[in-house]
Amino acid sequence: MTDTTMRATADRPSVGIFGPHILVFGTFVVATVALAALFPPLDTWPEEWVLPVREWVTEFFAWLGAVAKPVTRTIAWLLAQPLAFVEAVLYRGVPDWGLKPLPWVAVVAGAVLIGHWLAGARLALFAGSCTAYLAVFGLWQDSMQTLSIVLVTVPLAAGAGLALGIWATRSARADKVLNAALDLMQATPHMAYLAPVVVLFGFGQVPAMLATLIFAVPPMARCTILGIRTVPSDVMEAGRMSGCTTRQLLWKVELPAAQQTLLLGLNQVVMQTLAMVVIASLVGASGLGQKLLYSLQQLQIGKAVEQGIAITLIAIVLDRLTRAAMHRAPQRIPDGTAWHVRHVHLVAFLAITLGAVLLAQVLPQLSVLPRNMTLSFGQPINDVVRWISRNLYAYIKPVRDTITIWLLLPIRDFYLWLPWTTFIGFLALIGWYLGGLRLALVPVCLLGFMMVAGFWTPLMLTIYLVTGCTILAIMIGVPTGIWASRHPRGAKVTLTICDTLQTFPSFIYLIPVIMLLQTSDLSNVIAMLAYATVPAVRYTYLGMILVPKATVEAATASGANARQRLWKVELPIALPEILLGINQTIMMALSMVAITALIGSRDLGQEIYKALPGAETGRGLIAGIGIAFIGITADRLIGAWARRRKKDLGLA
């Protein structure tokens, strides 16, 4: 162990960043609170000082929508064509020509064969049974509608991301611009894009696809950049020495060699696209998402569960398939292998499809499963929910109320009471201490803008929910992470659970929460929590297992007991890593803000949601950007803090 670490841990057993500055901070808080009491504008930004930014934005988009009509119409038409084709194949058919859609049996067979081709029998079985679930539970039509959007959006997003990524690796300027743009695009919640898209493109499948595209492109672009940058230099040089032109180098060396990372990008695109399924239904995308949203709002839990499972299964199958593609090494094929042997999966698919189409003439059940042959477990689930609310609610309610009254409401009231000068000033002071003027300006500009634009209350309510969620996530996640770091077998289970929790599309968590807690602030927090605890666990685990063994042993040798070791040695050293986890927790919680709006809230997410029907672009967009701004502020401050800790510990 380096002696810097020993010194750092010895001198600074506490994790506080304030240290000697505590006086400065204390004085500042007292002073601003006192000042705010004397001058009310320093406490609450006066109504009449609010700039009509939202109106400006709304008007701008209205104007843009009118001016750009020919362009937007063309784009919409272009996007509609491939969608119409895929929809015809999967569920519509072409009635005018008397063509039927692909029989469901053929689609299931397709899933089986792709699974088998990519990873063998197990994946084949899994993909096949998941697809069969969609048919057997009578969700075929909706599922195929959703799948159509996914199948058209994914290649478009992947192509666009690929192009942007390539562009960024060709020019340093492009790289800079793109990076900033991607950061903002990813930090802004999905839903915020809906309002401008509606103004420009109206309601329907195509606007939904466009909104999805915006969210699905960044991960692909990032993976492309990463993939191309990490092609080994020997491979690149071998390509150049073989006499490749720049273009040949790109297509024949860089992209193929980056294949794994590109497929990872594709996987992310698929997952992002599915995450948008429900949200996109707000702008008129029909399919599973729309039905699920409807069920949730009607509190038809049984149906919601069936539909939620369907979306989740589609997500998991596509996830597994793309992952399998990523890990699939090219296969050696002996020379002289016949065409139909090389392409046995394709041949089998064509044969089965042909057979199914022909057989469907006599056995129409093969084409579309009639309603009376489908199953449902909606009723039993409804019964369970009814039973729970009749028998368990008496126990759940006190817990809910206790947490709400003792944790959530005090935080909320505190945030709403805080004068803006104190809140923003405090964050600025932390920024200044951690990173000078530049960092101090981040909260001032970003949060200040939201205030001036008249979003202070929803902003604080959002921060309140995120704070509540983060506190609970730390209380659950950090001990879990520590526990996992001590029990290798437990770690495996924990990490698997973490993986699984993250594969589910985020809105799935709304279902059980509504089921058990009905609508309340706590429901929102818990729905966020399901998603947001994962990074807290993961990073704590990582931080703990990265603590150098020698340091722990040295502490033991100096007579520290287990508890002292944890608090005085391991946690301080793991802190930078844990901080990064908390940072991620906040990002995840923020990404759920807009989604919990679907079950009722009063924060920025709700602003976005409410802005949709009236096409109040400004309101929705600025609220969305506000969520991004909270994220960026938290990210910069915590990031700076973690970096400083790492440097102090000599780990940087």
């Binding site: 690149m236 071998a238 150049r240 073989s242 006499g243 193929p256 094929i333 002996p334």
Partner: protein
């Protein structure tokens, strides 16, 4: 410049850092080592001049970080040099356009890399055919040629394998086959065997010599292993901190090292197989008593005879005429040099 040189480098510089050109200009085109240190620049290649003769194996040697790879990359223009000139078959390489450079690489240059640089998504055959593919050869022709190359390096039957299915030595054979596929005039090898196990390395060196006997290419070969250099090279250049310290035949280098740095490098050399009797003989001619030794004989071959003889032995030239003499002491001193003789009295006869 010698008109016969295949490649001729003059005053080559390659500097890494923020503004290498300005840095070079600021110091009158010849910054000193302390200038680099003071300004945080890296002088990877500093003022290097040398010729590569047709058909020779020129070895560039030096410790890791001494600039060998950078030098070879400057010559191939994988990295553009900061200053200097490179003539390749009488053509100024630094003036050729990007298109001409691509043409040169497609027809005249081949290169082998330390970590093979194989394309992981292509079969062995497609890897070897790659340089032909990018220059537009029809499929049948390039695959025929690639098969020939694979036969040459002993990888027949592996053509449909993927690189990950091969051992390191086999992968490098693919790399060699690929670099030879275009029939290059000049062949660059950057530590081609350094990533391999010692046993395989030996085998690959033999393979390399076998190929060179058939192909008679002009070769620039980089290694950090002096033994390898001595085994393979016609001439050896030693680099230190970006400079070419000495360029000479292995024998000259051992018998007349330019400085202590070179001497250190050569200290582990298999002297018995490099040095010839002529290079250690004294000019004192003694009458041939019975059999003399040939001046061109390697020490190892003559050792038994010289060590067995109490009297000085005559050293004979090619015509059998005596040109000098060699004693047992001279032989021992040459084969087991010691920096400080007093500390190793047991080595004194």
């Amino acid at each position: 410049m010698t008109p016969t040189a295949k490649i001729s480098c003059r005053n080559l510089w390659k500097i890494f850092g923020p503004t290498p050109d300005a840095f070079l200009a600021r110091h009158g085109g010849a910054p000193k080592l302390e200038h680099f240190k003071a300004e945080g620049m890296i002088g990877a290649v500093r003022d290097v001049s040398f010729d590569v003769h047709p058909g020779e194996i020129l070895i560039i040697m030096g410790l890791s970080g001494s600039g060998k790879s950078t030098l070879i990359r400057a010559i191939t223009r994988l990295n553009d040099p900061t200053a200097g000139s490179i003539m390749f078959e009488g053509q100024d390489l630094l003036r050729v356009s990007e298109d001409e450079l691509v043409e040169l690489r497609r027809h005249k240059m081949g290169m082998v890399f330390q970590h093979f640089g194989l394309l992981p998504h292509r079969t062995v055959l497609a890897n070897v055919a790659f340089p032909l593919e990018v220059r537009g050869s029809p499929r049948e022709e390039r695959e025929r040629r690639a098969m020939e190359m694979l036969k040459l390096v002993g990888l027949e039957g592996r053509e449909s394998y993927f690189p990950r299915e091969l051992s390191g030595g086999q992968q490098q054979r693919v790399g060699i086959a690929r670099s030879l596929a275009v029939g290059p005039d000049i062949w660059f090898l950057d530590e081609p065997f350094s990533a391999l196990d010692p046993l395989i390395r030996r085998e690959m060196q033999d393979e390399f010599m076998r190929l060179q006997k058939m192909l008679k290419k002009t070769i620039v070969f980089i290694t950090h292993d002096f033994e390898e250099a001595v085994r393979l090279g016609d001439r050896i250049g030693i680099m230190k901190e970006g400079q070419l310290v000495q360029l000479a035949t292995p024998e000259e280098m051992i018998s007349q090292p330019a400085d202590d740095y070179v001497r250190q490098f050569t200290s582990n050399a298999p002297r018995d197989r490099v040095l010839s009797v002529g290079s250690i003989a004294s000019h004192m001619v003694v009458p041939p008593t019975g059999a003399g030794v040939a001046a061109s004989a390697k020490l190892g071959d003559a050792a038994a005879q010289v060590l067995a003889s109490d009297a000085p032995l005559a050293v004979l030239d090619d015509m059998g005429q005596p040109i000098g003499s060699v004693t047992r002491e001279m032989m021992i001193a040459a084969m087991f040099p010691s920096r400080d003789a007093d500390k190793h009295p047991e080595r004194q006869p």
